[in-house]
C-alpha cells in the first residue's frame, strides 16, 4: 500500500539576482506503508530540501514550483471517523483530494499543512542534537506536541504518555523533567525520536539521523529506529549521505545528484545491480571496513551549482561515459530490468521498479566493467572526451 507518492516535484530557491536554484527537479518516488525508504546523495544534491518541502518547511526563499505530493491521509476536518477522507471532500473539486482518498500536500495552504505536521508526518531535523529547546524540559516539549494535535487530552495524560515514550526509546522516564543539556548526545537523539512518535504519525522523516553521533551510539539509534518501525508500523523516509548506513536500514532508496534522482529501486538492486554511472562512481569511492585491499577511486570534478542549470544531464561533466545525447537533455528514468533483458531503453512506468536515469544502460555490462577500471575515472580522460 502506497503511503506517499511524490510526482514530478520541482523545488526552487529564489536568489536576489532573479535566478533560481533548482534544488529538486521533477523528482518522483513513492514510499509504501511500513517500509524504510532512503534518499541518498552528497551535500547539496537536494535531498534535505525535498524532505522539507513535503511538509512545507522550506526556507523563506524556497518554493514548490510544480508537482504533487500524494499522501494517504488528510486534514482532520476533512476526515471521517476512520481517518479517511470524506466522500464530500473527494468530490469537491476545490479540495486537493484524489479518488483514492490521497491528499496533495503540495496544494495545501501553510495553515492547513500545520494540522498534518507531526500528526501524520513527523520530521527529525538534521541537527537533531540542537533540536531540543534548551530552555524547556524535555518532557514538556513532547507534551507540547501531543496537546497541539490532540487538544482533548489532559495535561496529566500527555505527561504520562511522554514518559512512556521516553521509556520506549530506552530513557528513564524520570528524565522527562530534565533539560536537554543534561542529556548526552545519544539520549538527545532518542528523545527527539520519542517526540516524533508522540502522535503516532504514518510517516517519519529522518534527516541524517546519526550523522553527529559516535559509531556505537549510531548503532543503537539505528536499532531503535528499526524497533519503532516494528512497533508503530510507521514508514520511515531516511535522508543521508552515508551509504553504508543507508545500505543497512533501507528497503528501497533513491540516489540523488544535482536535484535529480539518478537511480532508484530496492537496496539490493542499487548495490548489487548498480545501473547508473554516478552510483558506480560512488561505490568506487567508498571504503568498506571488511575488505582489506581495495582501491578507492573518486569521481573527478565537483558537484554542479544548480543555479539555472542547462537542460543536459546533471552528471555529464563528471561522467566518463557521457555521450552527445547527455548534453541535450537530462535522461528520463529507464527501466533497468527491461534494458538488461531486451537491450532497449524503455521509460520506467513503475516507480517501484529498479530505474536509472542514463542513456547508456542498454550497454550496462560494459559500463560496469569500465567503471571498475581506475583509468576510466581520471580527469584527463573525461576532459579529452
Amino acid at each position: 500500500m502506497t503511503l506517499l507518492e511524490v510526482n514530478d516535484l520541482s523545488i526552487r530557491y529564489a536568489i536576489d539576482d532573479g535566478s533560481a536554484v533548482h534544488a529538486s527537479d521533477r523528482v518522483s518516488f513513492s514510499v509504501d506503508r511500513g517500509e524504510t525508504y532512503g534518499l541518498v546523495g552528497e551535500s547539496g544534491c537536494g535531498k534535505t530540501t525535498l524532505a522539507k518541502s513535503l511538509v512545507h518547511l522550506l526556507d523563506d526563499n524556497g518554493y514548490i514550483e510544480s508537482g504533487n505530493v500524494w499522501f494517504d491521509g488528510t486534514l482532520p476536518q476533512w476526515a471521517d471517523e476512520n481517518g479517511d477522507a470524506k466522500q464530500s471532500v473527494i468530490d469537491d473539486p476545490d479540495k486537493p483530494v484524489r479518488e483514492d482518498g490521497k491528499t496533495d500536500l503540495a496544494a495545501l495552504t501553510n495553515k492547513q499543512i500545520r494540522d498534518m505536521r507531526w500528526r501524520d508526518i513527523a520530521i527529525i531535523p538534521q541537527s537533531a542534537m540542537n533540536a531540543l529547546n534548551p530552555v524547556y524540559k524535555v518532557g514538556d516539549q513532547i507534551v507540547e506536541a501531543i496537546l497541539r494535535h490532540e487538544p482533548q487530552t489532559t495535561k496529566a495524560e500527555a505527561h504520562d504518555r511522554a514518559r512512556d515514550l521516553l521509556e520506549r526509546v530506552g530513557i528513564e522516564p524520570d528524565r522527562a523533567d530534565d533539560y536537554a543539556h543534561q542529556f548526552s548526545g545519544g539520549m538527545k537523539q532518542r528523545a527527539v525520536i520519542a517526540m516524533a512518535m508522540a502522535c503516532s504519525p504514518d510517516l517519519l522523516i529522518a534527516d541524517e539521523p546519526t550523522t553527529a553521533l559516535d559509531v556505537i551510539i549510531q548503532d543503537r539509534i539505528l536499532e531503535e529506529l528499526e524497533k519503532l518501525q516494528d512497533e508503530f508500523g510507521v514508514s520511515i523516509l531516511v535522508i543521508s549521505h552515508d551509504i553504508s548506513v543507508m545500505a543497512e536500514i533501507c528497503d528501497r532508496m533513491a540516489v540523488m545528484y544535482g536535484g535529480k534522482v539518478m537511480e532508484s529501486g530496492r537496496t539490493e538492486d542499487i548495490f548489487g545491480e548498480t545501473a547508473n554511472p554516478y552510483t558506480l562512481g560512488l561505490k568506487n569511492s567508498f571504503p568498506t571496513i571488511t575488505s582489506a585491499d581495495q582501491d578507492l577511486v573518486s569521481i573527478p570534478g565537483t558537484p554542479p551549482t544548480l543555479r539555472d542549470p542547462d537542460p543536459g544531464c546533471r552528471f555529464r561533466e563528471r561522467c566518463p561515459f557521457a555521450i552527445e545525447e547527455c548534453h541535450a537533455e537530462h535522461p528520463p528514468m529507464y527501466d533497468v530490468a527491461d534494458a538488461e533483458s531486451t537491450g532497449r531503453l524503455r521509460e520506467a512506468t513503475d516507480q517501484r521498479a529498479h530505474g536509472s536515469a542514463c542513456y547508456r544502460i542498454d550497454e550496462l555490462e560494459q559500463l560496469r566493467t569500465d567503471a571498475l577500471n581506475e583509468d576510466t575515472w581520471t580527469e584527463q580522460r573525461i576532459e579529452s572526451r
Binding site: 518547511l57 498534518m116 505536521r117 500528526r119 531535523p125 533540536a131 531540543l132 534548551p134 517526540m195
Partner: protein, 329 residues
Amino acid sequence: MTRISGKYLAKRIVVSYLTLLVIMSLLFVLLRSMPGSFITSMISSGMTAEQIARIRETWGLNEPLWRQYLNFMINYQTGNFGRSPTYNTQVWDLMIRRMPRTLVLFGSTFIIGFIVGPLVGMYLGWWRGSRKDKSIFSTSLLLYSMPSFWISWLFIWVFNYELDLLPSAYMFTQFPEFQWTAFTVMRDVLYHIALPIMSLTFIGWVGSMLIMRPTMNQVTDEGYVFLARAKGLSERTVMVKHAARNALIPVATGAVVSLAFLIDGSVIVENVFNWPGMGQIIVSSVLNRDFPVAQATFFMLAVLVVVMRLLTDVIYTYLDPRIKFGEGE
C-alpha cells in the same frame, strides 16, 4: 529554584565590593585633580589667614592628601558620607531623599524600555530584511540619534507650551491646594513624571531592541525552531515561545550596558525638567566642586550598576537552565 550557589554569590559580592573600592579610589583622585575647590567660594577677600585655616580645618582639608583619602575610605565603610558644604546638610540625608526620586524615574523608564525594546526587536528580528523591518529599524536609529535634551524640549513645547496638558518641571505641584493624601501625591507625581518618562523612553527602548534583533535573527536558524514548526505549532507560538524565549538571554547582558545609557539620559532629563534627583545634583556638585556630594552620588550610581550586574546573573539563571553559577560540573 535558583541555580546560584551561596559560595558563588559570596564570591560575586566580594568582587563587587572590591570593584567599588577601586571606583571610589579612582573618584577620589579624579575629583581632587580638578582645579579649584569648594572652599574657594567660601573664602571672601576680607578673611584673615586664621579664618581661612579654620574653614580648611572644618572641612578636613588641612590634612595631607593620603590622610584625607584614608578618612574618606574608612568613613564610607561606616556609611558616613560627610557634610555637604553647598547644601549644608548631611550628604547621607541628601542621598536618602534624592535616590528614591531618581529610582522612580529610572525604574519606570527601564521597565517600559525593556518591554518595548525586546518586543520590537523580536518582530524585527523574526522578519529581518522585510520592508517593515527596514523602515522601523531605520526610524528607531533616527530616534536613537536624537540628543535627549532636545527631544525633551520638543515634548515640553508640544505638551506644555502649546497644549498645556502636562507640567514641564518639578516632581510635585509647587503650591498644592489639595489635601495631602497618598492618592493625591501619587497622582501628582504621575502627572509630573509623564513628560520626563516620555522623553527618556522615546529613545531608551532602542538599546535593548538593537540587542534583541540580531539574536532573534540567529535563533531562527536553530534546530529547535525548525522542530517547533515541524510539530505544527503556529508561527506565533514558534516565535514567542521557542525563538524569543531563547533570544532574550543575551538581552539580559545588554541590560547593564543600556543602564549606563539610561543614567546619562536621566542626568540630562532631570536637568531639563528640574527633577530633584541624583542626576541634577551630580552635575552641579561637580561644577561647584562639592566633593562630598559628588563622591556620594557617583558612589550611589556605581552601586546601582554593580547591583544590577548581580541581578542580571540571577535573571540569567532563570532564563537559561544551562547556566549554573559557581559549581564545577
